[in-house]
């Protein structure tokens, strides 16, 4: 009751000013002239109405388009006048006049119908709105308009963009507008000269948008003719049966151009034969004999002679037709001069892109190499220096990574947790390494094959223990926020900070290794013990202790490598075994017992793998396969690795 009264009151008080709408304002007249199209509104027919509004030059047109797009335009079902409105509640509207934006009043929505443009129409409206937005006082709106143009450029945008250029004040937006204007000129420029000039202005530009603008100009259509026409817009001549034009496609082209009889597919031929089976025979041929393609061809030919089916081309005819015609590409994207300019610009760009890609690939390879180096550096100590084959080395890497994961469970701050995890991982794997050396390896120093087997046993056990504790799913080891993102050099060359961090870490490890081995007493003693344990022992060095510490040091470095690798890849119980073969390969290829060899080995393996991946980007498995094969072959030629030890060190 109360609500009814309120509505009544609203009607009484507000219906009166509704008549004050300016029905003769220019914008309203324009809308009326397009009224049918607007109210009917389908994506196919709406174009002229939107164009009329957009090109009217009326200041209110932008408001109309805006409101229309937002589904706030309503039409008075009685008078046919358009207004825009806000819904006050379910059945009351607050309506405004388009002409001056003045409030007309609040009315019940019975007499009004809302215009509901579908998404296609809203898209068209959005395109039309761009020209208004380009000169909008708000820079954010102008940026949005430029975004819209980049997403879907249209011919009309070019003029709008040019018109807005002199008024632009923001230098950043101005630069963007100018670039966009040149891009649009390539596509829609009025004269060829203008387009060529725009194309040439992009010489060597690496932007993806430039290539996207140039590529459509090079669009071709494959055509066939008896003889090659002398037109200027002819591209290359295609040979049927080549990679660019298969024999079937070439003939289909002739058929489509009515230059040859159609062929029949095996399917259709079979269906045609089946349709004409009579008394177990097709055209007098026993069905049972139709068990080869030749027999079926003959039966079909017989049917064609009877006139039951249409004749088709035989293979000989196909060959003859193909031989009699020449196939070529015709440029359809642009006039020939523009095409040639675009081709030249694109070639220059592609060359530059290739160089940059090469650079990017090298960065990738370098980062892969540093990962391999990290994984292998511990081995370079235990295997390279001590000669112990530790197949559980990969599991030390895994232990380090899991240590990092556990630390992150307790310390939520990623930066701090990594700083804690690195020494802790070293400590954990150092302890594990020392324990393993004391319990197992010490007894097997003169039996390398059995060291390999025993450490395999440990590796299997450690992997399974990790699986039992942490489960089989991958655990995350999250890098600190400041390592997110990547260093972008240009559109093609970029490298993530985490890879840079790993690279730096690898260099640090190299320095640490060199320092420990060459500048500390431990290193001196290690070198002495590995060269001649008995002589070292008589000099007062305890070889047992040195061996234990060296093995622990190598294992500890593997633990830190585990943290780094865990940041880069997921932590699983199998992550160690993923790296173990490659790590051994790295050490063996580089040359056992020499850290520079390991560095070279890792670099070679990393570059090799990326290089192979570049040839076959979709398939990293193949890259690994070929890399291993390559290494097997490499060892044939340099069995002692890239840097072979000479003299006494080699005999030790």
């Amino acid at each position: 009751m109360l609500r009814f009264a309120a509505t009544l009151l609203a009607c009484l008080t507000l219906s009166l000013p509704a008549s004050s709408q300016q029905a003769d304002a220019p914008i309203q007249q324009l809308l009326q002239s397009q009224s049918d199209l607007i109210v009917e509104s389908s994506r196919r027919t709406i174009g002229p109405a939107i164009d009329a509004l957009a090109n009217s030059g009326l200041p209110a047109a932008q408001v109309v388009l805006d409101k229309w797009q937002l589904r706030e335009m309503w039409v008075n079902t009685e008078t046919g006048l358009f207004v825009y409105a806000e819904e006050v509640d379910r059945d009351t509207l607050r309506i405004f006049d388009f002409a001056d934006g003045s409030l007309i009043g609040e009315v019940p929505d019975d007499g009004f119908e809302q215009l509901k443009p579908n998404s296609g129409i809203r898209g068209l409206i959005g395109t039309a709105l761009v020209q208004f937005q380009l000169s909008d006082p708000d820079p954010a709106t102008r940026q949005r308009a430029l975004d819209a143009i980049e997403r879907g450029a249209e011919e009309s945008h070019l003029a709008a963009l040019r018109a807005s250029l002199p008024k632009e004040t923001d230098p950043q937006i101005l630069a963007r507008k100018q670039r966009l204007e040149r891009l649009l000129t390539i596509a829609y420029g009025a004269t060829d000269a203008e387009r060529i000039e725009a194309i040439q202005s992009f010489d060597g530009d690496l932007g993806v948008d430039v290539r996207a603008a140039l590529n459509p100009l090079l669009a071709v259509r494959v055509e066939a003719a008896e003889a090659l026409p002398a037109d200027a817009d002819i591209g290359r001549v295609l040979e049927p049966g080549s990679a660019a034009l298969s024999r079937d496609d070439a003939y289909a082209l002739l058929v489509a151009a009515n230059l040859a009889k159609p062929r029949i597919s095996v399917e259709d031929q079979r269906n045609a034969l089946i349709a004409n089976i009579a008394d177990g025979q097709v055209a007098g041929i026993q069905v049972a004999t139709l068990d080869s393609q030749e027999a079926r061809d003959m039966a079909y030919a017989a049917l064609a002679e009877q006139g039951t089916v249409t004749a088709v081309a035989t293979e000989a005819e196909v060959d003859q037709r193909l031989a009699n015609h020449v196939f070529f590409e015709r440029y359809v994207g642009a006039p020939p001069e523009v095409v040639f300019a675009a081709q030249a610009a694109l070639n220059a760009i592609e060359n530059k892109v290739a160089i940059n890609q090469m650079f990017d690939l090298s960065l990738d390879a370098l980062s892969l190499a540093s990962i391999y180096f990290l994984a292998a550096i511990g081995l370079a100590i235990t295997f390279g220096v001590m000669g112990v084959i530790n197949m559980a080395h990969g599991e030390f890497i895994m232990m380090g990574a899991y240590t990092g994961y556990v630390v992150q469970l307790f310390i939520p701050d990623y930066t701090l947790s990594i700083l804690v995890a690195i020494p802790l991982a070293f400590a954990v794997t150092f302890g594990a390494g020392v324990a393993m050396e004391r319990l197992v390896i010490r007894w097997l120093y003169h039996r390398p094959l059995e060291t390999l087997l025993a450490t395999f046993g440990i590796s299997i056990a450690l992997q399974q223990i990790a699986k039992n504790i942490f489960g089989t799913q991958a655990r995350p080891l999250t890098a600190p926020g400041w390592l997110d993102g990547s260093l972008v050099i240009n559109d093609i060359v970029s490298i993530s900070y985490i890879r840079i961090a790993i690279f730096v870490l690898a260099l640090l490890f190299l320095a640490l290794f060199l320092f420990v081995m060459n500048r500390t007493r431990l290193g001196l003693e290690v070198r002495a013990v590995t060269q001649n344990p008995r002589m070292a022992a008589s000099m007062g060095i305890n070889p047992d202790k040195i061996n234990m510490l060296t093995f622990g040091f190598g294992s500890g470095i593997a633990g830190i490598a585990g943290v780094a690798i865990g940041l880069y890849a997921k932590v699983t119980s199998e992550m160690g075994s993923d790296y173990i073969v490659q790590s051994f390969m790295t050490v063996v290829v580089g040359g056992v017992g020499n850290i520079w060899g390991t560095l070279l080995g890792a670099t070679m393996v990393g570059f090799l793998q990326k290089g192979i991946e570049w040839f076959n980007p979709s398939n990293t498995l193949a890259a690994q396969t070929y890399m291993i094969l390559f290494i097997i072959l490499f060892i044939q030629f340099r069995p002692k690795g890239i840097i072979a030890l000479k003299g006494r060190a080699a005999e030790a």
């Binding site: 095996v266 079979r270 097997l444 060291t451 395999f456 046993g457 039992n468 398939n619 291993i628």
Partner: protein, 417 residues
Amino acid sequence: MTDAALPRRQPFALRFPSVMIFLAILALFTVGVTILSEGFGIGVISTSFIKTLGKTLCLCLVALAMDLVWGYCGILSLGHMAFFGLGGYAIGMWLMYARTEIIVLESLAAAELPPTPEEVSNGIATQIFGVVGSSEFPPIWAFAHSLPLQLAAVVIVPGLLALVFGWLAFRSRVTGVYLSILTQAMTLALSLHLFQNDSGLRGNNGLSGLQNLPGLDDVPQATVSLWFFWASALALGLGYVLCAWIVSGKFGSVIRAIRDDEARVRFLGYPVEAFKLVIFTLTAVIAGIAGALYYPQAGIINPAEIAPIASIYLAVWVAIGGRGRLYGAVIGAAFVSLVSTWFTGGQAPDINLGVYTISWVDWWTVLLGLSFVAVTLYAPKGIGGLIDLITERKSPNRHGASLGPDQGSLREQEAEK
């Protein structure tokens, strides 16, 4: 010493009584299992367990090969399970092709027109390679239609790979652990290659349905499993005799000498590389044959079976069984693989420690790894070493060695008279 003074060679069987004992045990076992089986006997042993036993015999055969190459020749190959898998793939290709062909021919027989060869071939290819999104036969399937050719491939493919790889490796004098790592790399490369979908062997789907023999759908699996069991037992018996014969003669002495001191054998004028190559290739062929018998019983083969870890387990079996003695390899493979089946099959009772329950499905691998370390450290002779406890109680057979320090002391021939 004149020829007459040399001891007369005894028959092979008497010189190596262990061969006879082994063959007798194997025969008894085979007959026993047959009697207890479902297919031909009283049905105490289920068909699936017959398959497990048959598979175990195949594993014993490949362990035998491993023992020959590692225990006798000193080459710790981590690639023999790859050869095993290649043998399985070779026979699997025929099994899968022939079976799919029958299915396709049946489905096409209902069509109005008799099928053309192209239609049949396309149908089979679509059936087999549909899972990897292809419908064409890769070139390596060119011989898959022919059983004799694929059987030849069982021998030739692993043999050829071993020959080429071995030639490259031995020629450049890669020995010891380096060779092990190199063979492991080869195995890894092979399994990574097979994991690719475009390797032509159905990527990680592998080959499946191998337990069904083409054209023998009427024969129940109980019978088929026994056939394979017999074939495996026969292969193991023959393989054992072959290996025993190889290691018994001069050839065997040379390869043992290579194991113990390769450089010295080389200086004595033996072509060490050739000996190693022969053993490496021969054992690869044996492994291939074992694989060809194994996978029809397993029913499925995929690249994971070729991964390096499988070859490592093979070395584990041989080490636990006792390397350097043929029966050791067989005992090790049989014991460890059957115990593994028992533990990982969930049949072993869990141990409740109050705070933590040890579930053997999870902890068996840990136990295996650690016991492997223990065997390496404390019992290099493995389980086979237990047999020495018996044989050492008997007086040693000196094989014509001098019985005393004096030149004129009695020689063996006289002593044995």
